[in-house]
Amino acid sequence: MVDVGTIAELVASGEAAILSEWIDLQKKVGTLQTGRITENELVAQSREFLHRLRDGLARGGSDSSDAAYGPARQMLADLSRSRALQGFSPTETATFIFSLKQPLFNVLNRNAALSPVQAADLTWAVTLLLDELGLFTLEIFQKSREEVIVRQQREIAELSTPVVKLWDGILALPLIGTLDSQRTQVVMENLLQTVVDVEAEIAIIDITGVPTVDTLTAQHLLKTVAAARLMGADCIISGIRPQIAQTMVHLGVELNVVSKATLADAFAMALERTGRAVTKRKAAAAAAKGKPIAGKVE
């Protein structure tokens, strides 16, 4: 077992040299050029990490999962998370830790008190340690990116399923994007809750924005329609594009619900069912032309 405590002492004594060499290396790979981080920040981060790493080396031995490395790992986690959000590339993020290797090796090699065998052993221990920390950094980086993606997916799902009230008792549900089972669930919940809230009688599901309708999508649509019917609301499906209608027939998909070509047709039907109608104000318009009333725009 190598005593990595020696490295801790070397790091402590040669801190300034290590730090400047490390920062130079980081600059060389272009960490600063992207403008996402200032030199001061980089120096502060590097110095802080070196301190924490030294503490870890002094007390935790060569095992990077030791509790003594906790502060160092914590800092790496924060750093890679913030870099992931700032848009750093994985290479740029990993370079932070991997570029520390060379300065540390140089310190070990330059030290005359160490025998070549000792120096080699220590170098190996440092390599392993930094590799582990580097992998840890990348893992956190990856995880942060995934979190961002998951959050965006959720936001898209929320955004793309609005329920619009068209008239008293008439709702419209313009669907945009592919309907998978997870989204169907969200759509259904939104729709049913709104049906209760506004006491809707008719819901128009507009699928103009749905790129493809296969058997699975049709099944999801039918589920939504069935659930709305159980709540006492009738559904009309509108916005089936010509190609989609053809594809549906070719696939043998059957939607046994009332469907209309456009949202306008569906709305007209919904108005009719609720005992309303849209009429042109012919009489009023004619009257307005004959006797223009002051202050009214014709």
Binding site: E189, Q193, K223, A226, A227, L230, M231, G232
Partner: protein
């Protein structure tokens, strides 16, 4: 054993389920309701399930059964006030209650039954003419 009260309302029957349904209660309701439809000559059955939070496949089938029985006895069944979560559950269970009429609340359900009664009365009148 508890029983769910069945109220007579004109020529319709009104059932409000306000407790958690367990299987025996559901079977009892089905029996009682059948008997009452015959006894009162009811033409409509309105079941309010707005207080029902949990519905399983058995209760779902019971609703379907009640509708089927009522239809044989010439009465319309309207289920009203289903909660969104319950509706989703039933659909996921594959029970879309095709034989049952639905409405959002008791008021609309009653309007549905009255409308049906009026049309059948006018049909009867036509026959008499």
């Amino acid at each position: 054993m508890d029983r769910i009260p069945i109220l007579k309302f004109g020529n319709a029957l009104l059932v409000t389920i306000q407790v958690d349904m367990h299987d025996r209660l559901a079977t009892a309701l089905e029996e009682d309701l059948t008997a009452k439809i015959v006894a009162y000559g009811a033409r409509g059955v309105l079941i309010d399930i707005s207080a029902l939070e949990i519905v399983d496949s058995f209760i779902g089938r019971m609703l379907d059964n009640i509708a089927a029985v009522s239809r044989i006895l010439d009465a319309d069944t309207v289920v009203v006030g289903m909660r969104p979560a319950v509706a989703i559950t039933l659909v996921e269970l594959g029970l879309s209650l095709t034989g049952v009429k639905t409405a959002l609340n008791v008021e609309r359900g009653m309007a549905l039954i009255q409308a049906r009664l009026q049309t059948s009365e006018s049909e009867d009148a036509d026959v008499e003419d």
